[in-house]
């Protein structure tokens, strides 16, 4: 059989298994086993053992459980409630003020946790009832929470970046810096959109009544200081130590996890039960992600041995319009995949294929990686497979329908595409901060 045919068959089998609904990790591993055994022979299991051991020994991937662990403590420390009541008092008087507060809290939380689920559910449980009781437009409220929550996977520290770095052979620290400005750009666009929309149509996001906000200014400031300062200091310490080369990403993650525990202790929430729940919750997510990492490593072993990677690179090189054709094609492909598969599957399957192709077209690897990650933001909001919508549907009160959520995310998807275009037109948004890093 020709390599073309085998490669096509491998991908066909992979997508067939995934869409039948068998767990992604087991499909990836199973396809690798079937094709490896058939075309390489039983020796393929020796390669699999080496790859399994490689993932288990990977020091950089240790940052995955550590950042998840940090996130659970931040989530349970009760920062979100405090922050929301502070911003509520400060910005509540503006049209759309609660919506803007929601985005700000999501951005802060995105920096305090590394995934979407934790931050979106925590913020959603507080912000959605608050906005609905103030007669906010349901779709706008849902869209803001979904889009804001999605920032969790982009704004560093983020688990997506920790996985992406080793896969693409790029320093995780550099990628952290590269993702900061695009993350802030997205948050800024969301805020601008909510402000303009509510200014023109006050019914969508009415300001709070004055008596709701009659609290002395000193108390407002105190509330803001106790809610925003501790997590801000923590995040800056984690990112700063990476930026100045003081600590490796894994060590910075450990510091973050310990500081998260300390923070929970300061707010009086640190109990043995919380520590145990945090350990269990972290275990489940870590094992889920890293099992996919193991099986994706099996897949790439077999795929490369069968000549699939050469084939894919030739395919990319043959695209019309050269490098811009590749850029457009790969972004459209990622958006399409993002509708039907989760980000973990996309990262593990696509990054090893896209990275060498992008390099051969002469794109800056850090820029391209950050662009892919901005693109993957879209995957959280585009149905049928959209994590952010699933999470919100899980916690939305009965009055909110799935149709409200779908209507709500549409403008935010538009803003994400706009941010993607801005990052292409002005590559400095991505490359400015990593360029400043030492070494």
């Amino acid at each position: 059989m020709s390599p073309e045919f085998v490669t096509a068959l491998m991908f066909a089998g992979l997508f067939a298994g995934i869409f039948l609904g068998y767990p992604t990790a087991f499909v990836l591993g199973g396809i690798s086993m079937v094709f490896g055994w058939a075309f390489i022979g039983p020796a393929v299991f020796g390669h699999f053992i080496v790859r399994l051991e490689g993932v288990m020994k990977n020091y950089d991937l240790l940052a995955v459980p550590l950042f998840l662990y940090m996130g659970v403590f931040m989530e349970k420390a009760g920062i979100a409630e405090r922050l929301y009541s502070a911003l509520h008092l400060l910005l509540g008087g503006l049209r759309g003020g609660l919506g803007i507060s929601t985005i700000i809290i999501c951005a802060v939380f995105a920096a305090a946790t590394g995934v979407v689920g934790a931050s979106e559910i925590t913020v959603g449980l507080i912000a959605l009832p608050a906005m609905l009781s103030r007669q906010y437009d349901k779709a706008l409220a849902c869209g803001a929470i979904c889009a804001g929550g999605t920032l969790g996977i982009l704004i560093p520290p983020s688990v997506m970046i920790v996985i992406y770095g080793p896969l693409a052979g790029i320093s995780v620290g550099k990628l952290f810096l590269a993702a900061i400005l695009p993350g802030l750009l997205l948050a800024g666009l969301y805020i601008l959109y909510i402000a303009i929309r509510c200014y023109r149509r006050p019914g969508d996001g009415p300001p709070l009544a004055a008596e709701d906000r009659r609290v002395p200014a000193s108390r407002k400031l105190a509330l803001l200081a106790t809610s925003i300062l501790p997590p801000a200091v923590l995040i800056l310490a984690v990112l700063g130590s990476i930026f100045f080369g003081i600590a490796a990403v894994t060590e910075a993650a450990a510091v973050g996890a310990l500081a998260g525990m300390l923070l929970a202790a300061c707010y009086g929430r640190l109990t043995a039960g919380l520590v145990r729940d945090a350990c269990l919750q972290t275990l489940q997510i870590t094992s889920m992600i890293l099992l996919i990492a193991v099986c994706a490593a099996f897949f790439s072993t077999v795929f490369v041995a069968l000549g699939g990677d050469d084939l894919i690179q030739k395919l990319f090189a043959g695209l019309p319009f050269g490098k811009w054709g590749f850029l457009l094609g790969s972004n459209l492909l990622l958006i399409l995949l993002g509708m039907v598969i989760d980000w973990i599957g996309i990262v593990f399957i696509m990054v090893p294929l896209l990275t060498p192709a992008a390099a051969s077209f002469g794109f800056d690897p850090v820029w391209f990686a950050a662009l892919v990650m901005v693109n993957l933001q879209i995957s959280f909001l585009t149905p049928p497979f959209a994590y952010s919508i699933f999470y919100l549907r899980g916690i939305a009160p009965p009055g909110v329908t799935t149709a409200d959520i779908y209507r709500g995310v549409v403008p935010f998807v538009g803003l994400q595409v706009l941010a993607l275009l801005l990052c292409i037109l002005f590559p400095g948004i991505i490359t400015f901060l990593p360029g400043l890093m030492r070494g």
Partner: protein, 170 residues
């Protein structure tokens, strides 16, 4: 049958409850190393090896627990619309094709691999501490065995659904 399923599930449950504490252990290990290095200027020689070994054991021994908790992500855009029987049919078919041959063969191949590490007292060549590797390598077959046991439990449950004797999960 019911008894067997309960035993298999409780093995996974307890493996998770025990293994989950490792994250706290390696967080503290790394924290200790950082304090020793920056405050006392006396880096440990064991923290690096220790932390990746604990981290590797943590996630690999947790794979069975995650399976028990249905934590391995499925793309369920079609799956959730299928009947229970169709779902069970997919799970039975694909576990016979994908799951059991892969992890079964891997376990079979891991045993001589790890045995070799035991009898040669293999040591790590990364860093200065050079710890023996066999305890860490032994984690590989143990994790695979746990995953297989949980796989058997899930497989039997799907068979029960197909036989029309659906059981509620304990």
């Amino acid at each position: 049958m019911r008894r067997l399923l309960r035993i298999l599930d409780s093995i996974s449950e307890w493996s998770g409850r025990v293994v989950c504490w490792l994250v706290l252990v390696f967080t503290l290990t790394l924290g200790w190393e950082i304090v020793m290095r920056y405050v006392f200027n006396a880096p440990t020689k064991w923290a690096f090896d220790m932390s990746y070994m604990l981290g590797g054991a943590y996630f690999w021994l947790g794979v069975a627990y995650t399976s028990l908790k249905k934590g391995h992500v499925r793309i369920d855009i079609f799956y959730r619309r299928f009947s229970r029987r169709t779902q069970a049919l997919i799970d039975v078919g694909l576990s016979l094709l994908f799951f059991f041959p892969l992890w079964g063969m891997l376990l079979y191949r891991l045993i001589p691999y790890v045995y070799l590490s035991w009898i040669t007292q293999e040591r790590s060549m990364q860093g200065y501490w050079m710890p023996v590797l066999y305890p860490f390598k032994t984690v590989m077959p143990v994790g695979a065995a746990l995953l297989l046991l949980q796989g058997i439990s899930d497989f039997l449950r799907s068979l029960l659904v197909l036989a029309g004797r659906e059981e509620e999960r304990a």
